[in-house]
Subunit: 81 residues, 2 copies
C-alpha cells in the first residue's frame, strides 16, 4: 500500500522558511499569498494486510522516525491500496 | 482559502534521505516499510474570489517559488474554503 504522511510544525513554532517564501511571493506581486508554512511530506510504500495494520505501523514510524514530537505534528493524509 | 501544495522529487531522481529513513525503519524491525521518499509540503493561506482563481495563483507560485522544475514535481493536494 502507498501512504502519504504529512509532518508540520506545531502552530506555535515559528517558520522562517515559510515567512521568506510569503515575502518572496509578495515581492513578485502575489500579495494574495497571505501565509506559507513549510512542512515535510513522506510517500511510504508499506506491506500490510489491511488499512488498519498499515495505519498502526505508519503511526509508530511517523512518531519515532519521521517527526520530532516536541515541535512537530504528523498526520496520515491518505492510504491507497 | 487554505491550500496544501505537495512538492516531490521526480521519480528518476535519487532520494538518499528517504532511503536512510527506510533503512532506519528496517533496523527498528519495521521491514514492512518498503520504500520512503521525502518531499516538501506547503500550507498556504491565499486570498482568492473562488477555487479556480486560487488554483491558478497557486500553480504559478508553486512553479516559480516552491519547486525546482528540473528535479521536482508539484501538485495541489487540496483547497479548502
Amino acid at each position: 500500500m502507498k501512504a502519504i504522511v504529512c509532518v508540520t510544525l506545531k502552530p506555535d513554532v515559528l517558520d522562517p522558511q515559510g515567512k521568506a517564501i510569503q515575502r518572496a511571493a509578495a515581492a513578485l506581486g502575489h500579495s494574495a499569498i497571505r501565509e506559507v508554512r513549510q512542512g515535510k511530506l513522506f510517500e511510504v510504500e508499506v506491506d500490510a494486510v489491511d488499512r488498519g495494520a498499515a495505519e498502526r505501523l505508519l503511526r509508530e514510524v511517523a512518531g519515532k522516525l519521521l517527526s520530532n514530537p516536541v515541535i512537530e505534528d504528523f498526520r496520515i493524509e491518505r492510504i491507497e491500496a
